[in-house]
């Protein structure tokens, strides 16, 4: 099922023509509405007229998370607040969130993009979709929700957690009631690790036969082909990948079709580039580099050449499904030190900043990330410092609790904190190793 054939199946020429005209408009729009960008372009000796099409994209300066931080909270917004209908935020590198905004039209386009991905997973108006992404500042929940409504399916907004309730809803909505067509939850949207967790609970309770689940659309964290195979074979469903990032929009920037030959980018709205993370110059199809996006139609927060820090490659060429949009290959990692733990962006520097702010602990720490029973775990080892050392266990336990609380506030996920002897944490080349990621992805 293709949601918008006129856009998703364009010839390369048509697509590039559309992208070029939208890029020219977007650059003009940004230049005249965002002071920060105007100054940046002026500093690079650029005027909007210098950009005549997508071939000129490399003339434009990059945007990074630092630019969003420098202009915190809304300095890059191109519209007055009266035009902004929604705010989302993701965690930033130093504890400050990255704030993103949407106009009514941005939300419509977002819903359109999510709808396209849902159609790739064959989800339509007859489906009942359980949205088990977190609702709130995180773009996952509401982004998915609006997409599901847009395709006309029934949305069950469960958000994350409360596994028991998740399963009850999944099961009970299938029961026939008067005047109600019997249709249980047929699709679920959540992080792949949470779906693995739900899979285990479903197996434990032995309720798979009572479910009518046929597909899942998972994203917000990296996962492997092996995880997809497990989910598909254990739940007897089709599992699809959805990609996005809040700065660009949220989930729905790209998604994969039934052929699983890469994620189709909604490139009429988001112009992709792959650059070498070292030289920052564009690299060719199939080669791995950093993914960069330029929004082509965003109103509230248009971004020019935003460096996602995600490492992947792009291929063009028609897919067996009939779509002609460029496709992203599997993500191979990050060009910075950001970790994605339970779908939440975590930077090691956040831990350091939080510990320093506490003032009563050493800022020497080690983060150990693992996946236990398919759920991400985060353990933070903190060195005991003589300055705050107490010989009473009670005090040390209080300290552990306090560190846990402070870190949870900063990271938005609860870590397990463990006190260790000083100088036990490995140091290499004068720089301490801060992260051990034991997840096998």
């Amino acid at each position: 099922m293709i949601w918008n054939e006129s856009k998703e199946c364009m010839s390369r020429d048509e697509m590039e023509h559309l992208q070029s005209s939208r890029l020219v408009k977007q650059v003009n729009y940004v230049y005249h509405n965002v002071e920060y960008y105007r100054k940046k372009m002026q500093a690079a000796g650029l005027e909007p007229g210098d950009i005549r099409g997508i071939e000129d994209i490399t003339k434009l300066p990059f945007t990074t998370k630092d630019d969003l931080r420098n202009t915190y909270p809304c300095g890059l917004f191109a519209v007055p607040r009266s035009e902004v209908v929604r705010i989302h935020a993701s965690s930033g590198t130093t504890g400050k969130a990255t704030v993103v905004g949407y106009t009514r039209r941005d939300i419509e386009i977002w819903s359109e993009c999510v709808s396209r991905v849902l159609a790739m997973a064959d989800i339509g108006k007859n489906d009942t979709v359980q949205v088990s992404y977190g609702y709130g500042l995180f773009t996952g929940g509401l982004g998915a929700h609006y997409g599901v409504e847009n395709v006309g399916a029934t949305v069950v907004p469960l958000s994350t957690g409360n596994t028991k309730k998740q399963l009850t809803m999944m099961k009970d909505l299938g029961v026939t009631a008067i005047m109600c067509t019997p249709s249980g939850v047929t699709a679920i949207m959540c992080t792949p690790s949470y779906l693995m967790y739900l899979t285990e609970s479903i197996e434990e309770q032995g309720i798979l036969d009572e479910l009518q689940l046929k597909s899942a659309v998972c994203g917000a964290e990296p996962w492997t082909e092996e995880m997809r195979n497990q989910i598909e074979s254990r739940l007897h469903i089709k599992a699809h990948d959805i990609y996005g990032l809040s700065e660009i929009m949220g989930p729905g920037v790209a998604g994969d079709c039934v052929y699983h030959k890469g994620l189709h980018i909604n490139e009429d709205h988001f112009l992709p580039e792959i650059i070498s993370a070292d030289t920052l110059t564009p690299i060719g199809d199939g080669e791995i580099g950093e993914l960069v996006f330029t929004t082509l139609t965003k109103e509230a927060l248009p971004l020019i050449r935003y460096r996602t820090k995600d490492l992947t490659s792009i291929t063009h060429g028609k897919c067996e499904c009939g779509r002609t949009t460029a496709r992203l290959s599997r993500f191979v990692g990050r060009s910075d030190d950001m970790l994605i733990i339970r779908g939440v962006n975590v930077f090691p520097s956040q831990v350091e900043a939080a510990l320093l702010e506490m003032g009563e602990v050493s800022p020497n720490y080690l983060m150990i990330v693992d996946r236990v029973n398919n759920l991400d775990t985060l353990e933070v080892l903190v060195e005991v410092d003589e300055k705050f050392f107490s010989d009473e266990i009670k005090e040390l336990e209080n300290l552990t609790k306090k560190i846990t609380h402070v870190l949870q506030q900063a990271l938005l996920i609860q870590p397990k904190v463990k006190l260790v002897e000083p100088k036990t944490l490995e140091r290499s080349e004068g720089k301490a190793k801060r992260v051990i990621d034991n997840r096998k992805l």
Partner: protein
């Protein structure tokens, strides 16, 4: 009497206690008594030694988090009810004990107490 007690933070790792005793032995320090409090992740080793200041310096050098804490040493009578009488006195003076262990001496056992205000408690316990 108020004694200087050495407190050492020890991770639950194989051979860690031996590393501490090695340092003390090499520094010619005698251990009079010790108590080990443990949690699932780490332990707190409390020691009464012949030279607490030297021991602290040497252990610190070896990378252990170590501190010196004032504890109260109370000579115990070897009789039924002594500990109970002592606790009654402490209770009457609303003093709580953080931890307690004993030190054997030639003149009999001594009770080591960690309290918030050892000097005051010492006066309270003068005649049990």
């Amino acid at each position: 009497m108020i004694l200087k007690q050495l407190s050492v933070f020890v991770e639950n790792k194989e051979g860690r206690m031996k590393d501490i005793t090695q340092v003390l032995k090499d520094s010619g320090i005698n251990i009079k008594t010790l108590s080990l409090a443990d949690t699932t992740e780490y332990g707190m080793l409390r020691l009464i030694v012949s030279d607490p200041d030297l021991a602290k310096a040497k252990l610190r050098e070896a990378g252990f988090p170590v501190s010196i804490t004032d504890v109260l040493a109370v000579k115990a009578d070897d009789r039924i009810g002594f500990l109970h009488d002592m606790l009654l006195k402490l209770d009457a003076n609303i003093t709580s004990i953080e931890y307690m262990y004993t030190l054997p001496t030639e003149e009999g056992p001594v009770v080591i107490l960690k309290v918030a205000n050892p000097a005051e408690v010492e006066k309270v316990l003068e005649n049990i």
